[in-house]
């Protein structure tokens, strides 16, 4: 039995603690540090993307306004989309999962701690890279979908699109290594007894998204690489005059783009599936059905990309196939919705701020779902697509299914991460301001779309009947922004002045609540042994005599170690030696980013040097170390 201040935990602390100061900051591979950085960085991008949205809404508030030039408007809506979709929505979920996974799974770190650090640094640098030309008025301006030939050099000379193309390839590296890490972590580093049917739904969501990303990201990386070559190396992949095919871009982009949409909502749905039941004081209804619906959503998600291209002149027969697939993908979402409603109905709701965010989310999810169902109908989509109806739909989906669960998740895990409670009343006020602001901003967009207002127009005439709706929308957008600001103020205040939190302030069931708040650097003093899906609720339920063990278990204090276990049943089969803190992820990220900067600047000399440096960092990283040799557990 290891208690908090025993000599053994002191030893563990020494083993796992990083260097102090800047050195530690640059070299840490602690998943909790990396997770927090992911979330904070993603929120900074959310704020930037939000300010861009407010500028757009200020321009559109009245007809014929000239606050922004057309070119500024193009850059703003492009960067708004790029920022929210690529630099906020997935990274914030990666942050949650990075922080939480080892705590949920009962281990001491992710499977590849250094790779984890690499994925963060590359994400950060790719984000900065994507923004490097924006302050000079040369930001990407072809929309986040970046259709060719508008994005080709002939129609878009200058560095705008090159920045986007290279930045996306760089970001793809971060996503890819991060996804690999999640998949291997799930397969390999769960605590003994944490069998595949006991892992929290957030884990299902993230691993599904990761597998999806591994299959989807190559399509977009390839597309952007081909675009860069078309622009700078004289190839003609997308140039119809030379036998290329503009629609090839659309296929590649949406083969990635649609699965990506599911990647940025499934982990958030997982947050709800795990945290909502805690505030309903019961387990999630239909765990297995929800887990399987998560996976099947992603599988089906690879068969619906053409619903972004219903108006591109493809034959009616193939459109009907993709239309049918787009209807069918609603079914797994229905499974999840009814599981949440049943959980609320058969549970006993506790009206915390987190509960409000999750319950609000269910409604927004359904509204975003039914508008998506309308656009699945091919001929109707010929009217709805590229109007404000679609903007309404995608914001109900992305804000409703990503932002609301994320904010609820912050309310829920804030005490665990910081050791302090958020101000509940303040959080509830910010929820209501956001909920009202959100619906005021985005519900009228459905109507505006049916009134025929196309997307991506920087202004409109008064005689088209769009003025009133636009004014209401702009007001709603600012209210929503105020709500988010209130939430963030609450986070800062509570971080410094919140009441101290116990280990398990919500009476939750999963492993992270068995350790102190905030968690010690080594996570678990001993590796827990899991006997059920809800380890901390075993005494409250009549589910058999088996009890999980969170106080006794393997100590593993001979260096940075955690337990490796089998894929399905989580039988322990190896003690994994984990690498210590290292500057290599940072160095490799810097040199990799420098490669992309060299490409952007057409510097052959720079490209040679930076490529060599990247290669050297890679070799250094992979150089075999005796200390990391794995030891088979003696049976």
């Amino acid at each position: 039995m290891a208690t908090e201040d025993s000599p053994s935990t002191e030893k563990l602390r020494r083993i796992w603690e990083g260097k102090p100061g800047l050195a530690g900051w640059l070299s840490t591979v602690d998943h909790k540090e990396i997770g927090k950085r992911y979330v904070v960085t993603a929120f900074l991008f959310l704020i930037i993307g939000g300010l861009e949205a407010l500028l757009i809404r200020a321009q559109l508030a009245r007809p014929n306004q000239t606050l922004l030039t057309p070119e500024q408007y193009s850059q703003l809506f492009t960067m708004h989309g790029v920022t929210m979709i690529f630099l906020y929505a997935l990274p914030v979920l990666s942050g949650f999962s990075n922080y939480l996974w080892p705590l949920l799974l009962g281990s001491r770190d992710m499977a590849f701690p250094r790779l984890n650090a690499l994925s963060y640094w590359v994400f950060l640098f790719a984000g900065l890279f994507l923004y490097c030309s924006f302050p000079m008025g040369k930001g990407p301006d072809g929309g986040w979908f970046n259709y060719v030939p508008y994005a080709s050099r002939a129609y878009n000379p200058g560095s705008n699109i090159d920045v986007y193309a290279l930045g996306m390839v760089l970001l793809g590296i971060s996503t890819t290594v991060g996804s690999i890490n999640f998949i291997v972590t799930l397969a390999r580093t769960r605590a003994p007894g944490m069998s595949i049917n006991r892992v929290p739904v957030l884990v299902w969501g993230t691993v599904t998204a990761s597998a999806g990303n591994l299959l989807a990201v190559p399509a977009v990386s390839l597309a952007f690489l081909m675009l860069f070559m078309d622009r700078q190396a004289g190839t003609h992949f997308f140039d119809s005059v030379a036998g290329g095919q503009p629609l090839l871009w659309q296929h590649l982009f949406w083969m990635f783009g649609h699965p990506w949409v599911y990647a940025i909502v499934l982990p958030a749905m997982g947050i709800v599936s795990d945290a909502l039941p805690v505030f309903c004081r019961r387990p999630l209804v239909g765990y297995t059905a929800v887990a399987l619906s998560t996976v099947s959503t992603m599988v089906l998600g690879f068969g619906v990309w053409v619903h972004h291209m219903f108006a591109s002149g493809l034959p009616a027969l193939s459109l009907s196939f993709f239309s049918a697939a787009s209807f069918v993908i609603v079914i797994p979402s229905a499974v999840a919705v009814f599981a949440w409603i049943a959980t609320i109905w058969t549970g006993r709701p506790v009206f915390t701020a987190a509960f409000l965010f999750f319950a609000g989310f269910v409604l927004l999810f359904v509204i975003g779902g039914v508008s998506g169902f309308m656009t699945a109908a091919v001929p109707l989509d010929w009217q709805l697509t590229r109007t404000y109806f679609v903007i309404a739909h995608l914001h109900y989906v992305l804000i409703g299914i990503n932002v609301f669960p994320v904010l609820g998740g912050i309310c829920y895990w804030f005490p665990k991460v910081t050791g302090r409670l958020m101000n509940e009343a303040f959080a509830k006020v910010s929820f209501w301001v956001m909920f009202i602001g959100f619906n005021t901003a985005f519900f009228p967009m459905h109507i505006l779309g049916i009134l025929g207002m196309p997307r991506r127009i920087y202004t409109y005439s008064d005689h088209l009947g769009w003025s009133t709706a636009n004014l209401v929308i702009s007001i709603g957008a600012f209210v929503f922004a105020i709500g988010l600001l209130l939430f963030l103020i609450n986070v800062f205040r509570s971080f410094n002045h919140g009441a101290h939190a116990s280990a398990n302030p919500w009476g939750a069931a999963s492993l992270e609540w068995s350790i102190p708040s905030p968690p010690p650097v080594y996570n678990f003093a001993v590796i827990p042994i899991v006997a059920s899906r809800y380890p901390l609720w075993e005494d409250l339920m009549d589910e058999g005599p088996e009890r999980s063990s969170v106080g006794t278990g393997m100590l593993l204090d001979q260096g940075r170690e955690t337990v490796g276990s089998t894929v399905l049943d989580a039988e322990p089969d190896v003690i994994l030696r984990m690498p210590g803190d290292s500057y290599l992820p940072f160095l490799l990220s810097v040199s990799l980013t420098a490669v992309f900067v060299s490409l952007l600047l057409h510097s052959t000399w720079g490209l040679g040097v930076t490529a060599l440096a990247t290669f050297a960092a890679g070799v250094w990283w992979l150089w075999p170390q005796r200390a990391l040799g794995q030891i088979q557990e003696q049976k």
Binding site: V330, A342, I457
Partner: protein, 320 residues
């Protein structure tokens, strides 16, 4: 010279809750049907959610609300079952409508070739001979009550052809000719607008479909086929010096293809792709400073003396 004056040419709504032709009417019904299903779903879920949250609980004992990790699964079976039946029904309806509107009910009376450019529309009526062929811009006249075939091509980037009250969107993609069709069952003007982001002035790439009675359409068509008489006016000289590089006037100056064909400009109700009402003062303002009204348009500003401007404006105003 305010854009509001465009209202002078009639109601230019793009709302498609109510439509005026067989290429869209069944889509509109489908849209209303799916919207009603959607609103019902949202209403039912909201009610379930609210009752679920606020219904009275038996007792507030300590511990969890249940003692077992089970129960409630019937919600998923029933809810998903009903959803699936509704989805399949809507899917079948969609397929029927898709098949019905994909092709016109009878052979189209007329084929019109529309070429989209940044940021305007060229419209070509193919005749049996070159003499029976003519080109106009940004306004498409069609005979009422007859299906019209539209062949779409692009001169530069991707655009999308959309006349909400007559036809759903069809993208205009370089390297391929996409075909769509429309039919107006009621005479009148129907506004359309490019629906695929195509650059700085995507916002001002409108077009009008004018549905005429058969006789009005014949008169209009005959008028468009007439050559403009070549004269010796100062206005024509200014046109030939400053405008003819990009703009064609049938019978006078056939070389310009970069900008809209201006033969019979005076028969059109708007200029600059639906941005400005076609009045002498708007025309003069546009010629001298197009970048003010449409920043990013390919049309360069013309440096003209007051006399030259008046001459060319009155010349263009004479092109009936």
């Amino acid at each position: 010279m305010t854009p509001e004056s465009l209202l002078l040419i009639g109601d230019l709504s793009m709302a498609y809750d109510h439509t005026f032709g067989p290429a869209v009417d069944r889509i509109t019904s489908l849209g209303w049907g799916l919207a009603i299903v959607s609103l019902l779903v949202v209403a039912v879920i909201s009610v379930l959610l609210l009752i679920g949250i606020f219904r009275k609980r038996a007792s507030h004992s300590q511990g969890l609300a249940v003692r077992h990790d089970s129960g409630g699964v019937r919600w998923i079976y029933v809810g998903t079952g009903i959803s699936t039946v509704v989805l399949i029904g809507c899917m079948l309806w969609t397929m029927v409508v898709t098949a019905a509107v994909s092709r016109p009910p009878q052979k189209p009376a007329l084929t019109i070739q529309v070429t989209a450019s940044q940021f305007w529309w060229s419209v070509r009526y193919e005749g049996a001979t070159t003499a029976r062929t003519f080109i106009t811009a940004n306004e498409i006249h069609i005979p009422v009550g007859q299906p019209v075939r539209i062949e779409l091509s692009s001169a530069d980037v991707i655009h999308s052809f959309w006349i909400p009250q007559l036809a759903g969107k069809m993208d205009v993609i370089p390297g391929q000719t996409n075909v769509t069709w429309l039919q107006a069952d009621k005479p009148g003007r129907y506004r359309g607008q490019c629906a695929a982001f195509c650059g700085a002035q995507h916002a001002h790439m409108a077009l009008l479909v004018v549905a005429d009675s058969a006789s009005d359409f014949g008169t209009w068509q005959q008028g468009q086929l007439n050559d403009i008489a070549e004269g010796d006016t100062p206005g024509q000289k200014v046109f030939e010096t400053h405008c003819a590089v990009c703009h064609t006037i049938r019978g006078v100056s056939p070389e310009g293809i970069r900008g809209p064909d201006l033969s019979h400009l005076e028969t059109r109700s708007t200029i600059a792709a639906g941005l400005l009402l076609n009045t002498p003062s708007n025309l003069a303002a546009w010629i001298t400073n197009p970048q003010l009204y449409k920043p990013g348009t390919r049309m360069p500003a013309q440096i003209l003396s007051g006399v030259e401007l008046a001459a060319v404006t009155s010349y263009l105003n004479s092109l009936h």
